[in-house]
């Protein structure tokens, strides 16, 4: 078929916009981790104020569970992924940096008991750091706003006790993970 200059432009435009539409995130990971951390923080808080000795054990159960579910979700997703965009690539490196930083803090800080009071505030800073970048990549304002809310919670958390830090953590994940996660999911459904 004869192709003129307008047709050539039309093809280029259409294909580039096709690839653009592949930039998507349905917020599943945000929601799952948001709810897990939210529930863990509240359970820890209630066990703590009712004087239970092993109040923090909930983290040791729910976080590895979340890790396992994330791995399974990731495997399923990569099986169904037919195209890899540059955004996917950048996202992958942000997630790796986020997980490595998080694991280092989670493994090292509890061992050095003198820094224990800074554990949750530092954790929140790492959350916010990753979420702010993700919000930029996905061009999604609620994620960036959520990151700012987490930074604020983190700032306050440096000056309060462990019990209030747990409540601040719950508030942080609600504003940085759960709400933006649902909004991302809504956006993904609308763009199907």
């Amino acid at each position: 078929m004869e192709m003129n200059e307008n047709k050539a432009l039309e093809i280029i435009e259409q294909m580039i916009s096709n690839a653009k539409r592949e930039i998507k995130d349905n917020g599943k990971y945000h929601m799952m981790w948001g709810y897990l951390v939210f529930v863990s923080a509240l359970i820890d808080y209630f066990l703590l104020i009712t004087g239970k000795q092993y109040h923090a054990y909930v983290w040791g159960i729910l976080m590895p569970l979340g890790g396992l579910v994330s791995i399974l979700m990731g495997r399923k997703q990569s099986k169904n992924q037919r195209v890899v965009t540059y955004v996917d690539e950048v996202f992958k490196y942000v997630i790796i940096a986020f997980v490595v930083s998080l694991l280092l803090v989670c493994l090292i800080m509890p061992m050095t008991s003198k820094h224990w009071s800074s554990f949750y505030p530092v954790l929140m800073i790492i959350y916010a750091f990753a979420l702010f970048i993700m919000g930029g990549i996905l061009q999604f304002r609620p994620l960036r706003m959520g990151a700012m809310a987490i930074w604020t919670c983190s700032f306050v958390a440096f000056f309060v006790g462990y019990d209030y830090q747990l409540l601040l953590l719950a508030l942080a994940v609600l504003s940085g993970f759960i709400i933006p996660g649902h909004l991302l999911n809504l956006r993904a459904r609308q763009h199907v």
């Binding site: 192709m3 050539a8 093809i11 280029i12 580039i16 690839a19 099986k79 037919r82 195209v83 690539e89």
Partner: protein, 97 residues
């Protein structure tokens, strides 16, 4: 009429493939087939031509025991596409004068 335009890219399907691949890191054969609304046979032939020109890389592997073909644009492909777009722009400018 289109003497300045690269004949490898100046074909509907090959141009569509390159335009699609320029925006992504890599894409599977079936994805390209769906987005370009082409047939498997025709797409295979055109992909081979783009590969021979050094514009794309084709990787053949397996996923769950099924053959998987993945395509990726090369640096040469990006340069050729940019030149093609530049020439196309010039052509349009000349035509509109």
């Amino acid at each position: 009429m289109f003497k300045d335009l690269n004949p490898i890219l100046h074909s509907q399907l090959r141009l569509a493939v390159i335009s699609l691949l320029i925006g992504v890191k890599e894409a599977e054969f079936n994805y390209i087939k769906e987005k370009t609304a082409s047939t498997a046979g025709n797409l295979s032939v055109q992909l081979q031509k783009l590969k021979e020109a050094g514009y794309i890389e084709i990787d053949k592997s397996f996923r769950d025991n099924f053959p998987l073909t993945t395509c990726k644009i090369t640096a040469g492909g990006i340069a050729a596409f940019e030149t093609y777009v530049k020439n196309l722009k010039q052509y349009i400018q000349v035509k509109s004068k």
